[in-house]
Symmetry: C2
Subunit: 406 residues, 2 copies
Amino acid sequence: MRVLLVGAGGVGTAVTRIAARRPFFDAMVVADYDLSRAQAAVAALGDAGARFRAARLDASDEDAVVAALRSHECDVLLNATDPRFVLPLFRAARAAGANYLDMAMSLSRPHPDRPYEECGVKLGDAQFAAAEEWEKAGALALVGMGVEPGLSDVFARYAADELFDEIEEIGIRDGANLTVDGYDFAPSFSIWTTIEECLNPPVVYEADRGWFTTEPFSEPEVFDFPEGIGPVECVNVEHEEVLLVPRWVDARRVTFKYGLGGDFIETLKTLHLLGLDRTEPVTVPSATGPTAVSPRDVVAACLPDPATLGDRMHGKTCAGTWVRGTKDGAPREVYLYHVVDNQWSMAEYGSQAVVWQTAINPVIALELLATGAWTGSGVLGPEVFPAGPFLDLLTEYGSPWGLREQ
Amino acid sequence: MRVLLVGAGGVGTAVTRIAARRPFFDAMVVADYDLSRAQAAVAALGDAGARFRAARLDASDEDAVVAALRSHECDVLLNATDPRFVLPLFRAARAAGANYLDMAMSLSRPHPDRPYEECGVKLGDAQFAAAEEWEKAGALALVGMGVEPGLSDVFARYAADELFDEIEEIGIRDGANLTVDGYDFAPSFSIWTTIEECLNPPVVYEADRGWFTTEPFSEPEVFDFPEGIGPVECVNVEHEEVLLVPRWVDARRVTFKYGLGGDFIETLKTLHLLGLDRTEPVTVPSATGPTAVSPRDVVAACLPDPATLGDRMHGKTCAGTWVRGTKDGAPREVYLYHVVDNQWSMAEYGSQAVVWQTAINPVIALELLATGAWTGSGVLGPEVFPAGPFLDLLTEYGSPWGLREQ
């Protein structure tokens, strides 16, 4: 297997560090718009970097991506960029005849008239529209293969196959107790993506209703996270699992709730109130005259880059899937989860917990595809494939998962 | 009298509308960086605009301002720009031998080590440093001559002369019940200036301690505003009156508290937490490549221009001076105030209440200087001059003030 990894930010860099310890692939080309970022990721691998090389690549330039896949003879593209680049990379992989993996799906657009009641364009719609084309070509686009979506979907498959006869609700629940020394406010994940997720209308699935949306921050609940994280206020957020899980797993209801905490919710509401979450440009003065800039880019530019904060960060992050249903006629409720301690991921990999937890999952998926444990064609989510081999590798990689009976 | 009015924003435009009804001056040149704004202000006066003309002028270009004062033979410059342009306009007036009025003073800089305990550079320091030069030239710079500072200082003078033998505390208190249809968040005054005022360390004066600073939003109190506005949460804010009043009026303590209300205080705190109140540029993408922009300018660009909101605004705004002390041996406490109803100012002048209330005061001051009721030289605040003639003209202009015994 020869991999074109596009994006050498926090997640892409962690992918190289995890993959470098595994023998399943022959080569990984690390490509970024900023060549020096790609070079830094490869250089940091030291002696373990023989299979890696750095390249400059504009992820929005489909022709350039096709050319890169061909010239490096890559048979799979792993997309570690932000969601704005999903479609050009997805199309370029198809055009070059390569398989494709990503960790976030093509973006949604709210319903024009009833944004908080009905779905408009849903997450991943643009990718699923091409499913037949991929299937006919015998090629695989494995979409949403990070931690959430990704591992959370694998947990849903595992619950359906091994733990339940009937499932009432599958609820992804994400929470952390991370703090950053020296900053009163420093999100541990891309603020651009966090705003996109949290201020878009949240999507919910119900078997008798299909997909529908609600007001942002709806249905607040306090969820008690394991391994000392404790109770965190969670609210509905737009997330890929709600679109993926019901396509392949039977459940009466599917939700995603993010443990943002009360203060962070208030901060996001204020950004929205002031219009600072917008991506449409506004005109402001600059040294070279009036310039159009995106307010959301300015918000991001005012905050520290989360990928650089690992040294100052303390605490744990938890991703998981809570499932309620019946087994052998009795009610059952479990939380399947994966916790990463920032101190451990920094010491072991030099990557902060949130990006490391995202990065490990596509590496495991690549290994399962390389060994043939996972095979398929079309545009497929992680819940299509057998969960056992994935969860076994997670433990083998040194980062075991947990199961809590509620 | 021939006036160069610099700035044809909300306040400058309201100045033209108020002044057009008064015969005391011969000519008013309305100058703005954006000529069309100046032309629109003059055109809106219709038949009453014979003494007005529009001109293009860059307020940051001292030489150009001197040239404009000379070519139009103006003997006074009225500064209606934002506080960043105070110093170039103040210096240009001096260079051209003109008198000068403004409604906000030169900006402060926090103390480098103890910003929330000691003053650094204070509001107006740069202007008072030139006081001797103005005095020797027999020229007048009347600084802080809007509503607050301005009318509030006139009230302090009036209280000292007419209502009290000894004054314990002079506290400027500003509050409103304005709402804007169709906007969840729409400040009724320049957000740039509001951030500057509210996030700088508030300054307090005490006779035995001099000037000192506190944490932002300190000493919250609920003040009951008159004429139906009612109770509003007020907090300490950096404001010119605290620097002006103690120079000329005996009082043991001087404060300024702004009735921001709890929600607005939280919004400002969030902007500060995210670093979006900063004026130092950050680099963001734009269509023409990476560009440096000021986050605070972006915040302002995301919000509607307060000068354009008059039609959608409802409610009243109150400026005033609360004074506590003794008269004839007995304790006394009064609130001297001025309320403008937005519905009235829109119907009568086509200007929203907050900008209209700011604009009327420098027009009255110009009239008092033109008639010789007020004379002086140096860099002086409104409390230097007799308050009676000013307050009489306020009533004559159709906008009476009030006195409430507490």
